[in-house]
């Protein structure tokens, strides 16, 4: 995959740490090739169950804590265009139909991305993820086929491999794992336990390192 070939990559996720686990290495590879990357993050993740490990936040303080965390994450990844869209965590699927799609359409018209990274509809577990994926797909479906940006999607439902097979976009993040660890650490309120696992000399540690620190897996997607 030639990372310098894109004009602009748009990353759309609902929660401030969604970019960290499966995508941040890929984002950094684009930034290394000077490709502009916009990260549109739809909520502040203010309904998260993790309030630190051990807890240091409250339901009320989580908002500003996670805002600062995603800003730090963007800084580490070298993203200078971070859009925090301010929807409330958990509520995306209940917004008026078409509202999210409109937000995505506006972003696409403004930025003219050649590639969009988001979740895979039907295979991304969390209703906010699904609502985000649906909004992106609906927005692209309205565009003429030859004008649509390429889709690069994250799927992690338990049915993923059975239904979709092996991921067809596999990004080797060798050389970026130290910074990826910094990105995860930036989301301190959410990743305390995972960071502990990643540093541990145990089977759990091996599993975590194999899952997050070697490859980032995506599926391409064609809209009919």
């Amino acid at each position: 995959m030639d990372f310098s070939q894109e004009n602009h990559v748009l990353v759309v996720f609902p929660h401030p740490d969604d970019e960290a686990f499966g995508v941040s290495g890929t984002i950094m590879k684009y930034r290394e090739k000077k490709v502009p990357v916009t990260y549109a993050c739809l909520t502040f993740g203010d309904m998260g169950r993790n309030l630190g490990y051990p807890p240091f936040a409250t339901r009320e303080s989580l908002h500003s804590i996670r805002k600062a965390e995603v800003e730090e994450s963007a800084r580490i990844m070298g993203i200078d265009d971070l859009r925090l869209l301010g929807f409330r965590d958990k509520t995306l699927e209940f917004e008026e139909h078409g509202k999210l799609k409109g937000v995505i359409t506006d972003l696409i018209e403004e930025l003219q991305p050649t590639r969009i990274i988001t979740f895979y509809p039907g295979y991304s577990v969390h209703p906010d993820h699904e609502a985000t994926a649906d909004a992106v797909i609906e927005s692209l479906a309205d565009m003429p086929k030859d004008k649509r940006p390429a889709l690069q999607l994250v799927a992690f439902d338990n049915r993923t491999f059975d239904d979709l097979g092996e991921p067809d976009i596999v990004i080797d993040i060798d050389g970026f794992t130290d910074r990826k660890l910094d990105v995860m650490a930036a989301h301190r309120s959410q990743t305390g336990k995972l960071l502990e696992d990643l540093a541990a000399d145990t089977q759990q540690g091996d599993d975590a390192r194999n899952r997050w620190m070697r490859y980032e897996n995506f599926y391409s997607y064609e809209i009919d």
Partner: protein
Amino acid sequence: MEMKKIVKQDVQKVLTGFENTPVYLHVEITSGMYASHLDDNVFNAGTFLRNIQVEFIHATIRGGNRSKEHRVGLKLDNGGWVYVLGLTHYIEGENGEFIMHGFNAEGKLASALEISTQPFFK
């Protein structure tokens, strides 16, 4: 500022202080959105209500003896009730709101009851 483990007398005093005053509530119970993704035997359930305006005439905290967690019941001026099970910690927030959380064995939020005379941010 860290949350404190619930001491019943201390929490009771704060709850009583909100009696017969119009207040806003944030009420939340959650299994987490990944509960059944991670374990087939678990059923996802949860609720949150935010910026619900009520007035309660009587507030009581119970539990915390044999059980680790506490329960709070708010008896409303219209005869209704607010009930939350599973509270372990509390703190008085920066904007005068009273925040009670319940953390499970993994340190994740399982329940919340928050009371404020001012609306919670949207």
